[in-house]
């Protein structure tokens, strides 16, 4: 970065860009997409692939405006987000409680750890056929899948977190006369929090994908359903639109929810490894 001072306009532009990025990180994650979109538009305009097969950015934008005006897109988006939020919240609460139990109790750990690993390995999506038989094509099936997906990463990471707390801390708290309740709230939970957050991040990542898969296979609404429905109709535009929305949405979840929590817990409890 600290090369000799060259008065080269391109270099100057570049260093200006770097300074801008350092000041506003948002710009750094937006600007790189511009050449990509331009390249995409050029390839489409040049007609390398048939347009129905590979539509351009303007087509996708038009379909975005169109679907938004019809109200389809906002409704589907809301459906997906509500499903994910409800499922993730339920999975997280259950996961943390179960994780505390398994992490703190040796017997529970011996009995449940292999079972947890096994059920995590089965994977959410493999449950779909059975769930469809049980609940039919509906909301229950999707909720189950998301809760299941979020649950396991949270449990496994909570257990790791709880068990990685040095025994000395327990003993110190005990010898200072802390009752069990306060050890839980003031030693165990804060100590395991960074791991719990990692689990939440993984769980949301997997849950998000599971939701899309579930919506494709059993769905009657949602972004995944929109994409798969578009596939049936052969409308590549709407598929691309769906993919872009999925990506953007994850960016939003990451930037607005996960990153702040991670920063807060990392700074507050200072146990983040980097």
């Amino acid at each position: 970065m600290s090369e000799a001072v060259v008065v080269n306009p391109a270099l100057r532009l570049w260093s200006g860009y770097l300074r801008l990025v350092a000041r506003h990180p948002v710009i750094g994650s937006v600007v790189p997409f511009l050449p990509l979109i331009a390249l995409w538009a050029i390839v489409v305009e040049a007609g390398v692939f048939p347009r129905a097969f590979f539509p351009g950015p303007t087509d996708v934008y038009h379909s975005f405006v169109d679907l938004t005006r019809k109200g389809v897109l906002p409704a589907y988006l809301a459906d997906s987000i509500v499903r994910l939020a409800v499922g993730a919240a339920a999975g997280m609460v259950a996961g943390i409680l179960l994780g505390l139990l398994v992490g703190l109790n040796e017997l529970a750990h011996r009995a449940l750890w292999p079972v947890l690993l096994f059920f995590q390995a089965i994977g959410d999506i493999a449950w779909l056929p059975l769930l469809i038989i049980w609940f039919g094509f509906g909301l229950q099936t999707m909720t189950f899948v998301i809760v299941y997906t979020v649950l396991f990463p949270v449990v496994l990471n909570t257990v790791l977190g709880v068990r990685s707390i040095p025994l000395d801390l327990h003993r110190a708290a005990l010898s200072l006369g802390a009752p069990r309740w306060r050890i839980l709230t003031e030693v165990v939970l804060p100590g395991a929090l960074p791991n719990i957050i990692t689990g939440l991040r993984n769980g949301l990542g997997y849950g998000w994908r599971a939701l899309i898969a579930a919506e494709m296979i059993v769905g009657t609404s949602g972004i995944g359903f929109m994409m798969f429905d578009a596939r049936r109709a052969g409308s590549v535009v709407e598929i691309l639109l769906g993919m872009i929305i999925l990506g953007l949405l994850w960016y939003a979840v990451d930037a607005l929810i996960l990153a702040p929590i991670e920063r807060a817990t990392g700074q507050r409890w200072g146990m983040v490894t980097r």
Partner: protein, 268 residues
């Protein structure tokens, strides 16, 4: 307490392995008993949840007529093809991107975006571009692994301390040495972690894609059984999927990750 036990009788390596395997299997066996007991005690309808016997029978049947191995073979062929191709392309690309800080600043957001999309989100467009079958599914797996591995390689290369690179340069390393002895080993722990994460996504993507887009493979086996309400075959398939992934993850990926991290020791 632990020390005492070790002094009294030092169990051999094999005994230790056996004991840890047993303590892993025992709870699962208990679960199987609980399952059978519940099914009998409440006389659960086999269409809702089958008993152990029915599942074993369905399993034996699918082994006897060879369909199980056909499905597993198809699934594995897709996973291996997609993964190997993805790693072969992603690692060189990741290193190329990581070497220059400018390129990595520009490309990191792009790769993050696409690694978020990895896997399942590509199924609709993959089936449209490649039709139902081997091409589409391998493409989905390729995608799931490619972006995650490339992104992790990039992170790995850019996390190599510049002092190491400068030291190698000043000792007269050629570009080739640099690649083999600094960049690749330095990024290896990240690459392996990337492969493990990517395969995790790819495996789920595989099952989902097979449910939608093919006529062979484990996911298809489950979904076909659903069409005939054969819950015992579904449960058997789920168990097979669970065991296969546990084997892949615990016997191949986890040891690989551990060993690379130990060997190249960038871990603190």
């Amino acid at each position: 307490m632990n020390e005492l036990v070790q002094v009294e009788a030092k169990p051999s390596m094999a005994m230790k392995r056996l004991r840890s395997a047993l303590s892993f299997v025992f709870p699962l066996l208990c679960l199987v008993f609980l399952w059978e007991f519940t099914v009998r005690a409440f006389s659960v309808h086999p269409g809702v949840f089958p008993g152990v016997g029915a599942v074993l029978k369905a399993g034996a049947e699918s082994i006897a007529n060879g369909s199980l191995f056909l499905h597993i073979g198809a699934s594995f062929a897709r996973v291996i093809t997609g993964t190997v191709l993805a790693v072969l392309v992603a690692v060189p690309l990741g290193i190329l991107m990581g070497v220059s800080p400018g390129v990595s600043i520009l490309l990191t957001p792009l790769f993050r975006f696409f690694s978020v999309l990895a896997g399942i989100a590509w199924i609709p467009i993959a089936t449209l571009w490649f039709g139902y079958g081997f091409g589409a599914i391998t493409f989905v797996i390729f995608n799931a692994v490619f972006f995650v591995v490339a992104y992790n390689t990039l992170l790995g290369v850019s996390s190599i301390p510049p002092q190491l690179r400068n030291a190698a340069w000043s000792l007269g390393a050629t570009r080739w040495n640099m690649l083999w002895e600094v960049l690749l080993p330095g990024a290896l722990p990240n690459i392996v972690t990337g492969v493990r994460t990517g395969l995790g996504f790819a495996w789920r993507g595989l099952i989902a894609a097979e449910m939608i887009a093919t006529n062979l493979g484990l996911g298809y086996m489950l979904f076909l059984a659903r069409d005939f309400y054969r819950t015992e075959l579904i449960v058997f398939g789920m168990i097979v999927i669970g065991i296969l992934w546990l084997l892949i993850d615990r016997l191949v990926l986890a040891p690989l990750e551990r060993r690379t991290i130990e060997r190249w020791g960038l871990v603190r």
